[in-house]
């Protein structure tokens, strides 16, 4: 009995540093614990994920001659950055700036107004708020891309066609339902005692929202900002439909047109794929823990 209990407490401690004591148990026991099919599947999936990425990275560093002459999966014998140079000369900076403006210009308003709405939905009451909440929840189930034609019409009528603002306005609207949902879930977790003590200190709801709810909801704010940021940064349909000028292209669209122009120069096309992903990749490397923890918490609460 005592051994059973002991093993169960050890199991509970999984993930903590006491794990180190595990290898003292029998080899057979350890092997049975290794979850061989799981590990094998994990490695196979890793290969499926990594191979295309590896291919893109190495090919983008090859010369045309290297691309045609070498084994496609071999590391380039004389790696070159000239493809990157070519792409950078092709207005990449403009596309990058456009993407950055549209992303920041969508994400900041989205998070701000969704946070206010979430606070009201959690802390407030009344039929109006119920209705608003219900509407946002419905928004989750509707493929909002289906509204692109009326949006196109509206943007033309508002004289906003072929402007970056035209991309931001619908992006904000499309992001609201999920953002409100995640943020209100987090605000709901703030203990009522805290709200009450703010009240006793004479704070208005407005002050409570910014001084109490906002700091406590910060992890969720980060989550939704990242999630929406990725979506807008990688968005394709809205820029395709709502803009026209080459000077207003965002990265995914620039990538697509570039592919058309340079379809014979695959290393250059893949260098542009790399360049469009690099900013996000850098952010991922810096903020990986935050990003994954945030996304996990945001979607599994």
């Amino acid at each position: 009995m005592s051994t059973v209990l002991k093993s169960s407490t050890e199991e509970a401690a999984a993930g903590s540093p006491t794990n180190a004591s595990r290898p003292k148990r029998g080899l057979g026991q350890r092997l049975s614990r290794l979850n061989i099919p799981g590990g094998l599947g994990g490695w196979i999936w890793l290969a499926i994920i990594i191979l295309p990425i590896y291919y893109v990275v190495i090919t983008s560093l090859k010369t045309q001659a290297g691309y045609f002459g070498q084994n496609p999966l071999a590391v380039p014998t004389s790696p070159t950055l000239e493809n990157y140079q070519l792409v950078l000369e092709k207005d990449f900076a403009t596309y990058f700036m456009n993407s950055a403006i549209v992303t920041l210009g969508s994400v900041i308003p989205t998070v701000l107004i969704s946070f206010m709405a979430s606070f009201a939905i959690v802390r407030g009451s009344g039929r109006f708020l119920k209705l608003v909440n219900g509407m946002f929840l419905m928004g989750l189930a509707i493929p909002l891309q289906a509204t692109i034609i009326p949006i196109y019409l509206m943007i033309i009528r508002l004289n906003l066609y072929d402007s970056l603002l035209a991309l931001m306005l619908p992006s904000i609207a499309f992001a609201i339902p999920l953002t409100v949902l995640i943020l209100s879930n987090f605000i709901r977790d703030v203990p009522n005692e805290l709200f009450e003590s703010m009240r006793l200190d004479g704070c208005s709801e407005w002050q409570t929202m910014w001084r109490l709810a906002l700091p406590l909801t910060r992890p969720a704010i980060v989550t939704v900002a990242i999630y929406n940021g990725l979506h807008v940064w990688n968005g394709f349909l809205l820029p395709l439909v709502l803009t026209q000028s080459p000077g207003l292209r965002v990265l995914p669209l620039g990538l697509w047109t570039f592919q058309g122009e340079f379809s014979v120069n695959i290393p250059a096309v893949l260098a542009s794929v790399m360049l469009s992903t690099l900013p996000i990749l850098v952010l991922y490397v810096i903020g990986r823990r935050q990003l994954l923890a945030g996304l996990t918490a945001g979607f599994s609460k």
């Binding site: 999936w45 890793l46 709405a117 189930a141 695959i266 979607f299």
Partner: protein, 311 residues
């Protein structure tokens, strides 16, 4: 004792609060107005707009004219619609069948604590960062029969005309969708698994249940709502795999990968037939709503509210 003392003023505050609490709480409603404005103007009105536009004729530039039921009749008489409908459901179902087991198992696997799993997971989630356009372009290069993966791996059976043969293109689309979206759903499942109380596994272990038994009797039932959340996002999301398919195949060869969303775009913005395209959009909305409601039902009617919260 100290407890009673400290709650006394709170109780008093609560009493005085209750008088105007309702009013005060309803007054918070104005905080939703900015979000409401954007959502109504750029989502709700367009939603109504798309229904109205489905009864009009418009080439995207000129005047909008009334068309009555013409668009509806013409779209439903068009075999392209049934092809697109069939493809949409086919891709949706096969994608679900492919992605759900993989993401579920990977989620369970990466939720474990060994360090090597954490290292694997760093790489697993890379596709989350890539845009659909980038993914599609990368796979096009990768599939080149002479300079792509087939030659690189020395696997001649990979050297096919993937984008030129209808059923190959369709299979490829499903594969690339899985490549791009499995990581996201893995993340959802990983989070779900981590929230399962450890005590359940301890109890099972005391009862002598093995790993497989634990998976089917604890993990799977406990993940019920995670599965529904993930499936809802996956199924509703599959109506909008537009970007990827548009760049990868453009709907071809022929119409073999022309799903509804793509059909809508091609009719509206390529053929300049906004009316018929709006009909397709209305169909998309109806399917999306029906699927979401159906999936919520699966979660149990009484659980509907909390399920949506769990998304």
């Amino acid at each position: 004792m100290s407890n009673a003392v400290s709650t006394a003023p709170r109780a008093a505050a609560r009493r005085s609060e209750s008088r105007d609490a309702g009013q005060r709480k309803a007054a918070l409603a104005w905080l939703t107005l900015p979000a409401l404005f954007f959502f109504v103007v750029f989502a709700v009105i367009p939603l109504a707009g798309v229904l109205i536009l489905s009864f009009t004729s418009w080439d995207g530039i000129g005047a909008i004219g009334a068309a009555g039921m013409d668009n509806w009749f013409s779209v439903f008489a068009d075999p392209v619609l049934y092809n697109a409908l069939g493809l949409t459901f086919l891709i949706m179902i096969v994608s679900w069948l492919v992605q759900t087991p993989i993401s579920l198992l990977l989620g369970v696997f990466t939720a474990g604590s060994q360090r090597y799993r954490a290292a694997l997971a760093v790489l697993y989630f890379l596709p989350l960062l890539l845009s659909s356009a980038a993914v599609a372009i990368a796979f096009k290069a990768l599939l080149d029969p002479n300079f792509g993966l087939a030659t690189g791996l020395g696997l001649p059976f990979l050297a096919q005309d993937w984008l030129g043969v209808p059923h190959l293109a369709l299979g490829l689309v499903i594969f690339v969708i899985a490549w791009q979206f499995v990581p996201f759903h893995t993340l959802i499942y990983q989070g779900g698994v981590r929230q399962i109380p450890k005590s359940l596994y301890e109890a099972a272990q005391i009862d002598g249940a093995g790993t497989v038994k634990q998976f089917f009797h604890i993990t799977l039932p406990q993940l019920k709502y995670t599965i529904i959340t993930s499936s809802t996002l996956m199924v509703v999301g599959s109506l909008t795999y537009f970007d990827l398919i548009f760049v990868l195949t453009g709907g071809g060869p022929g119409n073999s990968t022309r799903i509804l969303a793509l059909d809508m775009y091609l009719r509206g913005f390529r053929a300049n037939l906004m009316g018929p395209a709006s009909v397709i959009a209305v169909i998309l909305v109806i399917i999306g709503l029906a699927l979401a409601l159906f999936l919520q039902r699966l979660g149990g009617k009484d659980k509907q509210g909390s399920q949506l919260e769990g998304l």
